[in-house]
């Protein structure tokens, strides 16, 4: 994949970033292929936004090699900008503009833009065409941001935590839109999210970024099977204490337990961890490490805490 530069829309090798002596990214490698939906998954503070801002050309990296659409994003000119689309979390701009007016205006910056009316239909905002942007709901606003992000026919679209604060229905509609863009329009999408379910739903490949390092990368199926490779065996031993152990070969462990006990084992249970279990464990473990440095990753799942401390 690295040899075929034409197919690599994003290529990063050893991308590092440090702020005032604190390392935020520790040598991140990424390869994003043309036409795929790639999710950068990680908890808040993992370095997702920093990574994406380096790739967007908004932040100067501390080190490493980065190519986006064949150019170094730090030196991205207007021709390069025209090939990249952006949807950020916090845009509240152009509130006074009418929806169709704004989209038509941004079309004038590009050569061969999309037809604004067709684009409004694509993102489901035809009815709001004459409405002022500040009156849109959160979900509508984000869909307008997507329309503005793709009005110039970009080859690569960045979606930074696009569904934060959405209700379930808005989230479903947004997911359908991203799928349509990727599968019908052939846009390469780099999505950042802290939501595993969203990454699994949308992405062809997922990279898990935790505490500035890529901890796992692959298709959702690959990640799930590698997560399940280490099973958890639980039982109650002869003294009546609950025990648990993680192993790549649960069958052998169970056989050895039976041999040692020369009989049945109480409360025996073998379970394969889901991708979610693995993700939460990674997040939690790094959260502990980061807490000392004032990182405060802090995942919300209480049940998780118990499991990891026992593991």
């Amino acid at each position: 994949m690295t040899g075929r530069a034409a197919d690599a829309v994003v290529q990063a090798r050893g991308m590092t970033m440090s702020y005032g002596g604190r390392d935020v990214l520790h040598g991140v490698d990424l390869d994003i292929r043309r036409g795929e939906v790639f999710a950068l998954l990680g908890p808040n503070g993992a370095g997702k936004t920093t990574s994406v801002e380096i790739l967007e050309g908004f932040r100067r990296r501390s080190g490493g090699e980065v190519r986006v659409l064949g150019a170094d994003p730090e030196r991205g000119d207007d021709a390069w900008r025209a090939r990249v689309g952006l949807v950020l979390q916090s845009w509240r701009d152009h509130g006074r503009w009418r929806v169709a007016e704004l989209l038509a205006h941004f079309a004038t910056y590009y050569r061969g833009p999309r037809d604004p009316a067709a684009l409004l239909a694509l993102v489901g905002l035809s009815e709001q065409a004459g409405q002022r942007v500040e009156r849109l709901s959160g979900g509508q606003r984000r869909r307008l941001d997507v329309a503005l992000g793709i009005v110039g026919h970009p080859e690569l679209l960045f979606l930074d935590e696009p569904t934060t604060g959405f209700d379930p229905r808005a989230r479903r509609e947004f997911h359908a839109l991203v799928e349509r863009l990727a599968h019908e329009e052939g846009v390469t999408v780099l999505l950042t999210t802290h939501d595993l379910a969203e990454a699994e739903r949308l992405a062809d490949r997922i990279a898990m970024l935790v505490a500035g390092r890529i901890r796992a990368i692959g298709t959702p199926a690959e990640l799930a099977s590698s997560a399940a490779a280490r099973a958890e065996v639980r039982w109650t031993d002869a003294e009546g204490t609950p025990r648990r152990e993680r192993t790549g070969d649960p069958s052998r462990l169970v056989w050895e337990l039976h041999r040692a006990a020369s009989g049945p084992i109480a409360d025996l249970e073998v379970s394969r961890p889901s991708l979610e279990d693995t993700y939460l464990r990674m997040v939690h473990r790094e959260g502990d490490a980061a807490a000392g440095a004032g990182g405060g990753v802090g995942h919300q799942d209480g049940a998780m805490t118990e499991e990891v401390s026992a593991a």
């Binding site: 801002e53 950020l88 916090s90 845009w91 509240r92 701009d93 503005l148 599968h183 329009e185």
Partner: protein, 304 residues
């Protein structure tokens, strides 16, 4: 998953011929300026802000009686010329920075930065907007004053030419400076407080609304450093008869000095504005936008 790119697909649009880009920036900028102007005219709050200034000026002119020093020139004419200068000053140094800070905070600047040719278009649009608002305000003020309160109008070709160059140079002195200020001020709420007090101070000390000779010499000297005094003096030269010169500190209009001071401020403004605007645009990013927004939401300034 293969991309079904439409005609002229992804690979083909990589390199834009550089010669074609510049006219597009201008076109986008002019279109943008036009839309912003239309929004201003349709926004009752903002429009009334500009109109209130004109109304206040007219009331002042209507109520002030008496003559300038030992001349036949009505005091109200001197005040009107000073107020006209102040309005230009305010457009450049209060309205423009506020606009820039607000648009930085909303993400307008970031979106344009992410758009090819967006920043040049933004600057073109802002220039168009500021010049139109300045010309509109000045024109409205002079015409309305002339019609309802026997206000002054430039005398002869020479007066009109003086009005033209003083207003142009005055705007050139304050607009880049305002842009530089807008590029560094933290947020719209603090920006207002930081700008308005010094502006009011200058309004009082620059002899815009009453003859500067009635102020202590030290205050006069300090005010002489700033452009407002010279803009007001230049507009008095354009609007008042030559006999009114006796009320000036130097006993003359000092037009060469007006030109020099305003040019110096224009140069200084451009020298500051270009790197500061570039820095402001470069520093914008999604995370900074979020951070600012969260801070604003916490302080209760905006609905979260």
């Amino acid at each position: 998953m293969t991309g079904t790119t439409t005609a002229g697909g992804a690979g083909a649009r990589g390199v834009a011929p550089p010669g074609r880009a510049a006219p597009r920036h201008w076109r986008a900028g002019l279109l943008r300026g036009g839309v912003e102007l239309r929004h201003l005219l349709r926004n009752p709050k903002e429009l009334s802000g500009h109109l209130t200034n004109v109304v206040v000026a007219l009331l002042l002119v209507g109520y002030i009686g008496g003559e300038v020093a030992d001349t036949a020139t009505p005091m109200s004419h001197l005040v009107l010329a000073g107020f006209a200068a102040y309005l230009l000053f305010q457009i450049g140094l209060v309205n423009l920075p506020q606009m820039l800070v607000a648009e930085r905070e909303e993400g307008t600047l970031l979106r344009l930065r992410a758009t090819p040719g967006g920043i040049p278009a933004y600057l073109v649009a802002k220039c168009l907007l500021v010049v139109t608002v300045a010309v509109g305000t000045l024109g409205l003020l002079l015409v309305a004053a002339a019609v309802v309160a026997e206000g002054p109008l430039p005398r002869g070709v020479e007066g009109w030419l003086t009005l033209l160059w003083v207003s142009t140079l005055g705007l050139l002195a304050v607009v880049p400076l305002g842009a530089a200020i807008g590029a560094v001020l933290p947020n719209p709420r603090e920006a207002l407080a930081l700008i308005v007090l010094p502006t009011m101070g200058l309004l009082v000390t620059s002899g815009a609304v009453f003859p500067i000779t009635s102020l202590p010499a030290v205050v006069q000297q300090v005010a002489s450093v700033f452009p407002l005094k010279w803009m007001a003096q230049g507009l008095r030269a354009a609007l008042l008869p030559d006999a009114a010169r006796v009320a000036e500190p130097a006993g003359s209009w000092e037009l060469p000095m007006v030109a020099m001071v305003l040019t110096a401020w224009a140069i200084l403004g451009f020298l500051l504005a270009i790197p500061l605007l570039r820095r402001a645009a470069r520093r914008e990013s999604g995370s900074r936008l979020s951070a600012r927004w969260h801070k604003a939401a916490r302080s209760g300034a905006v609905p979260a």
